[in-house]
């Protein structure tokens, strides 16, 4: 069996690498839900859903609370991020990516100029 307790990063990655678990996060982004409701929504057994929620919980992406016989799941505190901060982080990723693109474009330009010696406008 896969172990999910190596490092927090591995745990988060493992948690997010599964389509159902990403679906659960999306669902919980809309509203809190019980494990039973999640199991129904994703057409799974209660046991199967408990495992998924367990993985998400270990990664700190979800927290659960049992009241009476119902265990309610919600996004972990670390997921509730300010939208502005998220968009800024997204910008930084693209900025780094475009910097790399610029290097590739630069190489291609030089290659063209070097090869044909033609002046292209």
């Amino acid at each position: 069996m896969v172990q999910y307790r190596s490092t927090p990063l591995d745990a988060s990655f493992a948690a997010l690498s599964d389509t159902t678990r990403r679906g659960v996060l999306e669902q919980l982004g809309r509203e809190n839900a019980s494990i039973t409701a999640l199991a129904e929504r994703f057409h799974m057994t209660l046991t199967g859903m408990k495992k998924h929620v367990g993985v998400l919980e270990q990664a700190g992406l979800v927290t659960t609370q049992k009241v009476g016989r119902v265990r309610t799941c919600r996004l972990g505190p670390r997921r509730l991020e300010d939208e502005t901060a998220w968009i800024e982080r997204y910008r930084r990723l693209w900025d780094a990516r475009f910097d790399e693109l610029e290097k590739v474009v630069d190489q291609l330009k030089r290659k063209e100029n070097g090869n044909g010696e033609q002046d292209r406008k």
């Binding site: 982004g29 998220w86 406008k121």
Partner: protein, 169 residues
């Protein structure tokens, strides 16, 4: 937040902007120093694409990159981070207009995946790249932000994970 006053070298580092343009839409812009023809090439030839899509800072390995860049053609990118299991991103190109426009779907996340449209506009030997990610609903984009990732891309997920790791140290 960003501090632009005089901190950046005067060199012509082009600025990247990102904005939630509407309830369902994220838009990224950047000017690249080069003609649209070359920028488009770097975006559509796998051997070139591979060289820039995964910035080194993301700490990811691109295991494979299959791109059949034509309308209806599919793509599949497989990434790996450290010892974790590989993760695949895939979809289909729906518009490929040489040197000016690329549109693709992001299907790994199921039906809530966004559609990505990139346009290239050349002006004086430089190219303005505008990338739009259009989600099927406001809820889908909210959810992508809430869960720290967009279906169309995993790097920001890792970006966030890395940030999480820092906060956990």
């Amino acid at each position: 937040m960003e501090n632009r006053t005089g901190s950046e070298p005067t060199a012509m580092k082009n600025r990247t902007t990102s904005e939630r343009k509407s309830a369902r839409e994220l838009v990224i812009t950047r000017t690249i120093n080069g003609p649209a023809r070359i920028v488009f090439e770097a975006w559509t030839r796998p051997e070139l694409f591979k060289q820039w899509w995964v910035p080194k800072s993301a700490g990811l390995t691109l295991l494979s990159c299959d791109m059949d860049v034509r309308p209806g053609g599919t793509y599949k990118l497989v990434f790996k981070h450290g010892a974790s299991e590989p993760m695949a991103f895939y979809g289909r190109y729906t518009d490929v207009t040489p040197h000016s426009r690329l549109v693709w779907t992001n299907e790994e996340g199921g039906e809530a995946g966004p559609v990505t449209t990139v346009t290239f506009k050349e002006d004086g030997g430089r190219t303005l790249v505008v990338l739009q990610e259009l989600y099927p609903s406001k809820e889908a984009l909210d959810a992508a932000i809430a869960s720290g990732s967009t279906s169309g891309d995993m790097n920001e997920t890792f970006d966030q994970l890395d940030a999480l790791v820092v906060t956990l140290k």
